[in-house]
Amino acid sequence: MTQKPLNPLRDELRMQAAIEPCVVVLFGASGDLARRKLIPALFSLWKKQLLAPGFSVIGSARSQMSHDEYREAMRKAILEFEPDAFNDTEWKSFAAGLFYVSGATQDDQTFVGLTSLLAQLDSERGTAGNRIYYLSTPPSLYDPIIDQIGHFKIAHPEHGWARIVLEKPFGRDLKSALELDAKLEALFDEDQIYRVDHFLGKDTVQNIMVFRFSNGIFEPIWNRRYIDHVQITAAESIGVGSRAGYYEEAGVLRDMIQNHMLQLLALVAMDPPVSLDANSVRDEKVRLIKAIRPIDHGEVADYAVRGQYGPGIVDGAPAPGYRQERGVNANSPIETYAAVKFVIDNWRWAGVPFYVRSGKRLPKREAEIALQFKSVPHLLFGKTAEQQIEPNQLILRIQPDEGITLRFNSKVPDPRGIPETRIHEVNMDFIYGSTFAANFPEAYERLLRDAMLGDSTLFARRDMVEISWALLQPILDVWGGTPPSDFPNYEAGTWGPKTADELLEREGRRWRRP
């Protein structure tokens, strides 16, 4: 028997699911993420009528501001970062739901003001006790905020629901991740916790599942019988910029590999989930990550390579080395490049290495997953052709120039009629922009919407986070305990250190040049 929909007017294919009225409590409300991404994303949802009329935001930060001053600051942020999206009438209507509570998170008075304002909004704007606590703060503030949420007993409102959203990093190693999770678990149920990995909010990342599981022709060859190896790349041409303080504590292994890259690996390698509900998808991802062979401390050099950029040329302009960047220690041992080989011990992937790399100040910004197929078992086309035949590749391009490319070999037409067959590798391209010609929605818009809807599919679950840290912990230990002797070991504007090439060369493979 079908259930009658709660909202009969939403029962149509054009209308998106409804978000219940709620208050987003934004800690770190005047920070970069809030100004650049979160407030613009919420404003965009408002304009699309995806938020209830009484939807409200309470910004909280140390800076002293009135409600009106906060509204004005956020108005300026929209005008600065999303000027095309601004409409004064709509903004005024949205801004009427923006409020601000100033003060340190450790200060009880801040939370006294916050809880009183929450009650007032429930009564005046019909937000019904529903809250999202969004921690857009440095990780050092997670503990005091969570403590205060517990102290003021606002994790489980009497009416409505409460959820907590955290930005990465979720800890800086396995131990701190476990501590953070324990603290969260003491207050919240797992289904109230939303760990943001903004890569998962990207349409092209979500398309990996659609591509794999809605096309009958790929899944049968998506295994060790046909695939030789997989390369996952997230390259950036920029340096650390204004994030030196954070980066000096993190490095690329923590910043990219532990979260974004392992999520991509899981999406591309996992088995089909039984359904698309949040836990089915995340169960499969966790199952896959659990199947990755642990790397012993003594094997780290065989599986992982680190690098740090020195001065060079990027985009035609001189770029300083990492150690010359503002805010960076002149002898910094922090890696700005990492390449790791993962081996998956299961029936589907036995013997198929997954090479994952990420780095800063590489020649260009590029994120992609490349599956290289095995070579043909027997070559028919003579000696010349043998050297020209390349194994087929399927490349899922995440950003920019989002799309999918299949590389295969083709005969080169030869009007002179030379008997020798000449073969050339060609691309069959699907380019998102030329087919759908639509702008991709901002990842945060999707993630905020999902958090308000209570859909955690695109968020990292506790076990995934912990297993990922456990997998990388030996590398963190070895790298942390052995300062690099060769840093900087790659020039800005190149594809990383020589040792990264050697990681593949010793297995008879080479990195793609995206």
Binding site: L9, M15, A18, P53, N87, T89, E90, G126, A437
Partner: protein, 403 residues
């Protein structure tokens, strides 16, 4: 934002060699190494239009191609021409993309049919449809989709798009529209779904109303819904009613009746019965479904004179589209006294929730009258039939019969 540019002025071609000319055109375009061209098409779009409106249709189609790259075939009909002949033009419409590195191009074919040749145009169009791509037919002419060529071409189509705002006689044409949808739905071997740009246009109203039901406390109040009043602007050229006179049926725009039909079908109203002798000449219907609901269609002010309409609105005939509706008000029984209102205010849609006379929530969003290209772009995302729309038309047609 992508930049639109046309790399070619349309070139006149012999109608019998359109395909050859297209190949030549692409070959020349690919020789431009400074601006590499990607030729893209994911669907066939056939547009029927009055020959007089070819210019604006070309522009609308080019905008559309930037979102849905297609082989677009625009058929301009000029049946009153004394001479009977077919003529054709081809051009490529391109959008600069990928950090200005490449151009994404779609092809546009314009066929003009004069005199009796309007009935021969299918012979030219059918072979030009790219195989294995979905084919949409957009009827961009005021009045009903009719004609021999159209009859033949619908066999090649997956979906027909029309715009009920272009119907000249307003709401009384809803019954005929329902019959057309039913007939197309029973078409053999496959049903032919119909899309309506007016339905897409009204999406902003529907969404605003739907959000009221998203809020649990509002939903509780809406369970006590007693009366819905839809204030509308009567169609132009047909004066609004005087104080005690019913608005003539032909002055009733389609939009308020369509929204009423949608509400009735979604909320499960049974009936309706028209009330007679109502105040101020409003159309009042009573639905018996529990609890009983009264629907009031209330003329709001005088008809909009044509002179103040924008060009876009004018090209739709009598309809003002989203501006045909001035306000939709929900009044609930029981305690506390609650009303919900969604109304047009300047160029915005304002949602107001009043509980015991106090405004509890208020939201204002922009309510631009979208150009046709945007509306069609939304429709091209839908392949099957839209049962919610069809149910709404059914409900609206029942009301229209009672007007």
């Amino acid at each position: 934002m992508q930049d639109q540019l046309n790399i070619q002025t349309p070139r006149r071609v012999d109608p019998s060699s359109i395909d050859r000319e297209l190949r030549k055109m692409w070959s020349e375009a690919s020789a431009d190494t400074a601006h590499p061209v990607i030729r893209a098409r994911i669907l066939n779009l056939v547009i029927f239009v009055d020959a007089a409106a070819l210019g604006e249709t070309r522009d609308a189609a080019a905008e559309l191609a930037a979102r849905h790259p297609s082989r677009t075939i625009i058929v301009g009909l000029n049946p009153k021409a004394s001479e009977s002949r077919l003529s054709a033009e081809v051009s490529a419409r391109c959008t600069v993309s990928f950090h200005r590195r490449q151009q994404i191009c779609s092809e546009q074919i314009v066929i003009t049919a004069d005199g009796r040749s309007v009935d021969d145009v299918h012979g030219l169009v059918a072979p030009l449809l790219t195989s294995d791509l979905h084919t949409f037919l957009w009827w961009r002419i005021a009045g009903w989709p009719l004609g021999h060529s159209l009859d033949v071409l619908v066999d090649h189509c997956d979906r027909i798009l029309l715009d009920s705002a272009r119907f000249v006689s307003g709401a009384i044409e809803l019954d005929a529209l329902f019959s057309l949808i039913k007939e197309c739905g029973q078409r053999k071997p496959t049903a032919l779904p119909i899309g309506d740009l007016n339905w897409t246009r009204l999406g902003v109203w529907r969404t605003a109303l739907a959000t009221l039901y998203d809020v649990p406390t509002y939903r509780d109040r809406l369970a006590e819904l007693r009366r819905i009043t839809i204030s509308y602007v009567p169609n132009s050229g047909r004066p609004a009613a005087s104080a005690a006179q019913t608005v003539p049926a032909a002055a009733m725009p389609i939009e308020p009746v369509l929204v009423a039909g949608w509400l009735g079908s979604r909320l499960g109203w049974k009936g309706p019965e028209k009330q007679s002798g109502t105040e101020r000449g409003n159309d009042v219907f009573r639905f018996s479904s529990p609890p009983a609901v009264e629907l009031v269609l209330e003329a709001s002010g005088p008809a909009q004179p044509d002179a103040i309409r924008s060009e876009a609105e004018g090209s739709r005939g009598h309809s003002l589209g989203i501006k045909s509706i001035a306000e939709i008000r929900f009044e609930c029984g029981g305690e506390p006294a609650t009303s919900f209102s969604v109304r047009l205010k300047a160029e915005c849609l304002e949602t107001v929730v009043l509980i015991e006379g106090q405004t509890q929530a208020n939201r204002i969003v922009a309510c631009d009258d979208k150009p046709d290209a945007d509306l069609v772009a939304e429709e091209l995302d839908i392949l099957g039939k839209d049962t919610v729309y069809e149910d709404a038309i059914h409900g609206a047609s029942i009301l229209a019969r009672l007007l």
